[in-house]
């Protein structure tokens, strides 16, 4: 056996302060809520004390954003806004190693992913929307009939955006939210998730490094109540949320009848559909990447595997062999494939649903693997003999747990794939091009990947059907959420 020696990425590059304040109007200030700790989920060590924004802090942040919107940002020509965004994108690239290490420490994701996936996409998002900032008049939306500093041609921004993001891709979700908002001329107040605030706070520092005018970006930390106060604030014009469907519902209720714009990117239970003529070895990689990428903490994860019965046995044999090669452990080890579960609460939820899966009669399997004694860990898990009526086939587990179902015909595959309240993503694996198109027309999912999975690009719009939310992020479509169109 070829044992790989530990190859840890150095932590020396990050400088985590003992405590962090709220970033309001270009400065770090104290919060009036009760501060909380951010921990490293791989070791349970405390990383830093984080300020909590109470309602008066939220008010202050929204006020700062409003002032910056009125006095500076909304009046800047697009090409000037673009300069700041390009500058931010370049600083992110320059500091990418630091940010990747910080992300892995705070979130638990493997450094290979934060380094090779998250950070390149973060920078790419800022570059992409920087390019749009002075071309909004050509984005295909109605042009503003009246003035504006752009000479009346550009569609106008909305105002102050209140943005609440999840813990699974902390910095990437920040980029998805902030880059288009700023490019379109809005100012923002963003709340990162309670368990993963550190890269957002590092981003605050990047805003200062880029000389972004104070108040254009405000970062407030806290738990659910802070988020509630932000989305309910009367001076917020636009709310953008990524997270669970339950919280999404609450937010939708809270902004109803207020005139605020709302986009929601919520949960998913994506079907990854494997036909018998699929390129099997690549399909195995796609399945693994679909569900074990980021410990399965991915809203568009391919958590339901639909396999054509004629190849199910062969495919599952190969999948098990492949799963046995996954390396679980220290997120900072460059050879780690699966890192730590983000929090004790999430680990508990994954355990609970997995136990329910067993009780409901599905067969549970994991490769033999040693899990570290400290921290939050869950072995990659496969459930076979899963029925559509099992909870593990219906509920979002948000962990490294794959439910396998079979189908006989393409029509049955579509029926089962669509038989979910969610509709965020889907995968189709077949060597037959016409079947890919046939499936893509029928799958009710915002993204349909063909012979690949979990592929992201800032130019491609992303968003859901049904209970997976509404609105699109990314691409030209992503501009619509931040323009008065």
């Amino acid at each position: 056996m070829f044992e790989y020696a530990p190859a840890p990425e150095s932590r020396d590059i990050v400088d985590i302060k003992p405590s962090y304040g709220l970033f309001i109007n270009g400065e770090f200030v104290d919060g009036h809520g009760e501060s909380f700790k951010s921990i490293n989920p791989a070791s349970e060590e405390t990383l830093a004390e984080i300020a909590c924004a109470a309602p008066q802090d939220v008010d202050r942040a929204v006020h700062a954003a409003r002032q910056a919107y009125d006095a500076v940002w909304s009046g800047l020509p697009g090409r000037e806004r673009a300069k700041y965004l390009f500058r931010i994108a370049r600083i992110i690239q320059e500091r990418s190693r630091e940010l990747a290490v910080l992300e892995s420490i705070d979130n638990g994701k493997p450094i290979r992913e934060s380094r090779d996936v998250d950070l390149p996409l973060v920078a790419a998002h800022f570059f992409y929307y920087a390019g749009w900032a002075d071309k909004l008049a050509y984005a295909g939306f109605r042009r503003s009939p009246t003035d504006g500093a752009g000479g009346g041609a550009d569609p106008r921004p909305i105002g102050v955006a209140g943005q609440v993001i999840p813990w699974n891709f902390p910095l990437l979700m920040l980029a998805w939210k902030i880059a288009p908002a700023l490019a379109c001329g809005n100012t923002v107040v963003l709340k990162p998730a309670e368990t993963t605030p550190l890269t957002a706070l590092a981003f605050a520092d990047i805003c200062r490094q880029a000389d972004l005018p104070p108040g254009v970006v405000n970062i407030i930390t806290g738990a659910g109540e802070t988020g509630q106060a932000l989305v309910a604030h009367p001076d917020v014009d636009k709310v953008a949320f990524t997270g669970s469907t339950d919280v999404g519902r609450q937010i939708a209720r809270s902004v109803a009848r207020t005139g605020k714009r709302l986009t929601l990117e919520l949960g998913g239970k994506a079907a990854n559909v494997i036909f018998d003529d699929a390129p099997l070895d690549q399909a195995i990689e796609g399945i693994v990447n679909g569900i074990f990428f980021n410990q399965g903490h991915v809203c568009c994860a391919g958590s339901r595997l639909l396999v054509q019965e004629s190849v199910a046995e062969e495919l599952l044999g190969r999948l098990k062999s492949r799963m046995a090669t996954l390396r679980i452990g220290d997120p900072l080890d460059k050879n780690t494939d699966i890192g730590a579960i983000n929090s004790a609460a999430q680990l508990e939820k994954i355990r609970m649903l997995s136990e329910i899966g067993e009780r409901e009669g599905a067969a549970r399997w994991s490769p033999p693997c040693e899990l570290p004694s400290r921290g939050f860990w869950f072995a990659p898990t496969l459930f076979t003999d899963v029925a559509q009526s099992h909870r593990i086939a219906r509920e979002e587990i948000f962990g490294p747990v794959l439910s396998v179902l079979t189908f006989r015909t393409p029509a049955e595959a579509v029926e089962k794939a669509n038989n979910t309240p969610y509709g965020l993503s889907a995968g189709v694996w077949t060597e037959k091009g016409s079947r890919i198109l046939w499936m893509a027309e029928r799958l009710r999912a915002g993204v349909v990947w063909a012979n690949t999975f979990n592929k992201f690009d800032p130019a491609a719009p992303f968003g859901g059907y049904k209970e997976s939310g509404f609105g699109r992020e990314g691409g030209r479509h992503g501009l619509a959420a931040y323009l008065d169109v």
Partner: protein, 307 residues
Amino acid sequence: METLTDAASLGAFLHGLPGVDQVGADERAARLATRSIKTTAKARAIDLAISMVDLTTLEGADTRGKVRALCAKAVHPDPGDPSVPKVAAVCVYSDLVAEAVAQLKGTGVGVASVATAFPSGRAPLEAKLADTRRAVTDGATEIDMVIDRGAFLAGDYQKVYDEIAAVKAACEQAHLKVILETGELMTYDNVRRAGWLAMLAGADFIKTSTGKVAPAATLPVTLIMLEAVRDFRARTGRQVGVKPAGGIRTTKDAIKYLVLVNETAGPDWLHADHFRLGASSLVNDLLMQRRKLATGVYAGPDYFTLD
């Protein structure tokens, strides 16, 4: 394994193999190439890589003197350090086999001979067989043959199969490595089919390239071939080896190939009996990195022999 007795069933079988998605295969190979092999793992990998090298010279200008020099290097890659393992074999043209055999007698280093009108494979079968028999008579322990790419691309799988089987028979005790020349097959589907065809016809090893066509060995092509030998063993019980050849020059490259073997075919293939690296300049880079690991400093290129 079913017997494929006629051209039609052979073609149907090869075209019934699961397809290869090129983008996905390239991605998988690229991701495995990011594995970070350090310290003790690196030391082990370097020694393993040295022991898997087929030290090769295949030039029109080759002489007996050149072959003698290469054989000396094969037995003692680093004359100053007896702990360095020997390479697996020396690989030469068939007319120089006798010289290599004389030099390597009793050392445990194999003698591989390219044969069958290497590198193009464009010669009548009788000439290819004569080439092979002569090398075997002269003592070659391994034969590296080339397939008829023209016949393969024209869909005449039976001709390719029959030639490989005939050469295999002519090899007697010698191991047969079948060179697919993947740089001329172009698609990964072709690589997978050619690999299976060679294994069905009796290959002991499947080898990527002659080194005379660009691109020679690449990670994705080797990945496809490793998947093929893995699946072939699962189906038939017979374990066939893989040899990427050409363009592997650095320790980093060699380690990437070992990672690919480890995580695709599995540790059973991590031995010179089942995996080889066809290379020449690679050995000195491996030696240089080996000494760097041991002493902490790089020795200049003048401290390693040019042969």
